[in-house]
């Protein structure tokens, strides 16, 4: 028996798991229209690779991963792309985001699905497969798995932790998945272990899911993976908390588990890894718990993109006294403000909330500094201090008190006798600090660009001045040289003579033409100008005035100034 460690604090809210974990996972029917958001993961949103009106097959990539931290999205069924435009998405802001809408044709025609023999394949090829299959962490953070499953050379992974704790009340999707598809979850763990080469694999499951633990235990026979049953205490499913429980190691402030040689993944993610690698199926569906104020709470295997309103209908529809819907669990989830929003990879649970099940919070009272939040905080922070600094917008202090180590689990708000929604303040402070950091970074970049531009202008100015100075010096030197030698450069002299001759000829021509005009009675200014007169053209060509210098003196001066350079050319 493994020694279990303890994490600090934690709370034990009513579990409410019984409602939805009795019935097996039911497949959800195919909806008529599916709306697939391009941003379903942390990092850059996927780039659409289909056009409106295009026919797509089930599992076809419709959004490609963009950049290092990104993942692909796929058509959940076969049909026609009817729109690529902003649509309501499940997000606390309630703002729309770019989505691809597909009208299902009902035929469910799959793309060609090819399994990948991961044991004999290049690990990078396996990771690419995961990226292009849109595999992301299904525990809630939706971090692209292919990035996480890349141990890198220096940071070797000693322990792979599989998170089956599912500590949030009401949610039972991982529970049912582990009970019914334990063998497939273990196949996925094998792929993860193959990519990471950990010394040990630990699967943490809370003791309120004995059936899931037993099923996983049976499936792990002969693999060396260890199923560890942990006591039910929220938030044991927090990544850092579960690592502490299982290994006794604490992730240092501001660092990630990989820094202490541990990687933690959700069991649901392991299942999708298995489907992607061994079956060639991208992530186009997930198991979602529909519970709360519905007559038939249950887990449904639902296609990504199904409107949440339809998912609620599957459980018999919300009872009339339902006032709002929660996406995720009651501790960390958020209120959905539009039921037209589609199911995404991040949605593990939809709760219909009635005043009876979720009584409205009493009005917040002043903080009495009782310290109960500090006792409950699983990150060993000082929530009352963080509240104080966030409330007064003293962001530097909030950061100094490790605000960014807060996992927003809500344990502090849960125990607060003054009913202060502490997490709301932390979220506000976190996003405000993040924005300011971003602005600061942009300001620094702007400054750098500004300075570079100034330098460039200065440099160009100097170069120009230097060029002029050089030219002037060269001209002066040539003149001086000519004056000193006393004789003119023969070539220049010849040219000069030619120009002089041309000028003379031109003058003669002009006089002749004038005389002629007088004779014929044509006004002088009507004499055809330009090269139409062959003689004139010849004179012009001879007079070295290709730039069209009409003033002979200027042409002469020019010829003089060019003389030194021709001399240089002949020398070299």
């Amino acid at each position: 028996m493994r020694t279990l460690y303890k994490f600090h604090g934690g709370v034990h809210p009513p579990e409410h798991k019984e409602e939805s974990n009795r019935l097996p996972i039911a497949p959800a029917p195919l909806p008529k229209r599916l709306t697939v958001p391009l941003r379903q993961h942390i990092g850059s949103p996927a780039i659409p690779v289909v056009k409106v009106g295009e026919q797509v097959l089930k599992g076809q990539m419709i959004g490609a991963a963009d950049g290092f931290i990104s993942a692909a999205v796929h058509a959940p069924t076969s049909g026609t792309v009817s729109a690529i435009e902003p649509h309501a998405v499940p997000h606390p802001s309630g703002l729309p985001d770019l989505c691809i809408t597909i009208e299902a044709d009902g035929e469910e025609r799959w793309i060609e699905r090819a399994p990948l023999d991961y044991r004999n394949a290049d690990p990078d090829a396996v990771r690419l497969r995961l990226r292009d299959a849109g595999v992301v962490g299904l525990g809630g953070a939706v971090f692209p798995s292919y990035v996480k499953l890349n141990p890198g050379a220096p940071a070797r992974i000693k322990t792979l932790v599989l998170n089956g704790a599912e500590c949030e009340p009401w949610i039972t999707s991982d529970d049912r998945l582990m009970r019914e598809r334990a063998a497939e979850v273990v196949e996925g763990i094998k792929i993860m272990a193959h990519l990471m080469h950990p010394e040990q694999v630990l699967i943490g499951i809370e003791d309120n899911k004995p059936e899931a633990a037993a099923a996983m235990q049976a499936a792990c026979q002969g693999t060396g993976y260890e199923v560890v049953v942990v006591p039910t205490l929220y938030p044991s499913g927090g990544e850092k908390q579960l690592i502490k429980l299982l290994t006794g190691k604490e992730v240092p402030a501001g660092q990630r588990p990989v820094n202490i040689g541990v990687t933690c993944s959700n069991t649901g993610t392991a299942y999708t890894v298995h489907r992607a690698v061994n079956h060639g199926e991208p992530v186009i569906s997930r198991i979602v718990t529909v519970t709360g104020n519905v007559p038939k709470p249950r887990n449904f295997e639902t296609l990504i993109g199904t409107p949440i309103a339809e998912i609620v209908q599957l459980a018999g529809g919300a009872r009339p006294d339902t006032v709002h819907y929660i996406m995720g669990g009651p501790m960390m989830g958020f209120g959905l403000n539009n039921l037209n929003a589609p199911l995404t990879k991040a949605v593990n649970c939809v709760i219909a909330a009635s005043p009876a099940l979720f009584p409205p919070a009493p009005p917040p009272m002043p903080c009495i500094r009782c310290g109960r939040c500090a006792q409950a905080c699983p990150c060993e922070l000082q929530p009352q201090e963080l509240f104080w600094f966030s409330h007064s917008q003293n962001f530097d202090k909030a950061r100094a008190y490790n605000l960014f180590d807060c996992i927003e689990c809500g344990a502090c708000s849960y125990v607060c006798p003054s009913h202060i929604p502490l997490v709301s303040y932390y979220r506000f402070a976190k996003s405000e600090i993040a924005t300011r950091d971003m602005e600061k970074k942009l300001a620094e970049q702007a400054k750098e660009r500004f300075e570079l531009k100034q330098q460039r202008i200065e440099r160009e100015k100097q170069e120009k001045a230097a060029r002029f100075a050089e030219k002037a010096a060269a001209a002066a030197a040539a003149k001086a040289a000519a004056a000193a030698s006393g004789v003119e450069d023969p070539e220049a002299a010849a040219k000069k003579a030619a120009i002089q001759a041309a000028v003379e000829r031109a003058k003669a021509k002009k006089a002749e033409a004038a005389a002629k005009a007088e004779g014929t009675g044509t006004p002088a200014d009507e004499i055809p100008q330009g090269d139409s007169d062959p003689l004139r053209a010849k004179a012009r060509a001879e007079s070295y005035a290709p730039q069209g210098d009409s003033d002979p003196l200027r042409a002469k001066a020019r010829a003089e100034s060019y003389a030194p350079s021709t001399e240089n050319n002949t020398d070299s």
């Binding site: 941003r39 998405v89 997000h91 606390p92 802001s93 703002l95 985001d97 009005p363 917040p364 917008q393 929604p421 709301s424 303040y425 979220r427 506000f428 976190k430 996003s431 405000e432 924005t435 602005e439 942009l442 300001a443 620094e444 970049q445 702007a446 400054k447 660009r449 500004f450 570079l452 531009k453 100034q454």
Partner: protein, 177 residues
């Protein structure tokens, strides 16, 4: 006593040469507070000249228009003077962030805006249309008057999921029954 005075005096003299601070450290601090928009709305040729003027006491700390009252307040704190709001009548927070947008169908490719952009974030070439690198634009508005065909507009940055922030929690206070 005289000897001690000479010794200590020479130590101080040596230290002042050895540990001489180049430039005015206050300028750096003031500059770090400024938004680096390089817009010149303060009356100086950029953020650095303004920072130098503020540090030297030649300029008021409330002249930074894009920074708004936030920056004015931080500068007043830094300099230990009384805070005055930006401008005479507006005196509000910073302007909503705007970025330049070039209407590419109207652009004649004259490069006038490229020359005035302080942060080199307009790209294009002579007789070819220009475009703004949106995430590097500081919103200084210097390119707007430079355009001979009026094809540059300042567009406010809309709120979207990527730049959305959690709001400060506000609670409705109800009358006790």
């Amino acid at each position: 006593m005289v000897f001690l005075g000479i010794v200590l005096g020479s130590v101080l003299g040596y230290a002042s040469i050895k540990f001489k601070v180049e430039g005015n450290p206050l300028v750096e601090k003031v500059e770090a507070t400024l938004p680096q928009t390089q817009c010149g709305q303060c009356g100086y040729a950029g953020c650095r000249p303004y920072a130098e003027a503020v540090a030297a006491g030649k300029a008021e700390p409330n002249q930074c228009v894009p920074g708004g009252d936030n920056v004015a307040k931080n500068l007043a704190d830094l300099l230990g003077v009384e805070f005055k709001p930006v401008g005479d009548d507006q005196g509000s927070g910073p302007k909503p962030k705007q970025i330049a947008f070039i209407d590419e169908s109207t652009c004649v490719g004259c490069t006038a805006c490229i020359k005035v952009c302080p942060v080199d974030c307009i790209i294009g070439a002579s007789k070819l249309m220009h475009t703004v690198i949106a995430n590097q634009c500081t919103g200084c508005e210097l390119c707007v008057p430079a355009c001979p065909v009026d094809c540059i507009a300042m567009l406010p940055v809309k709120e979207n999921i990527a730049n959305w922030k959690w709001h400060y929690p506000v609670f409705e206070i109800k009358k006790a029954a």
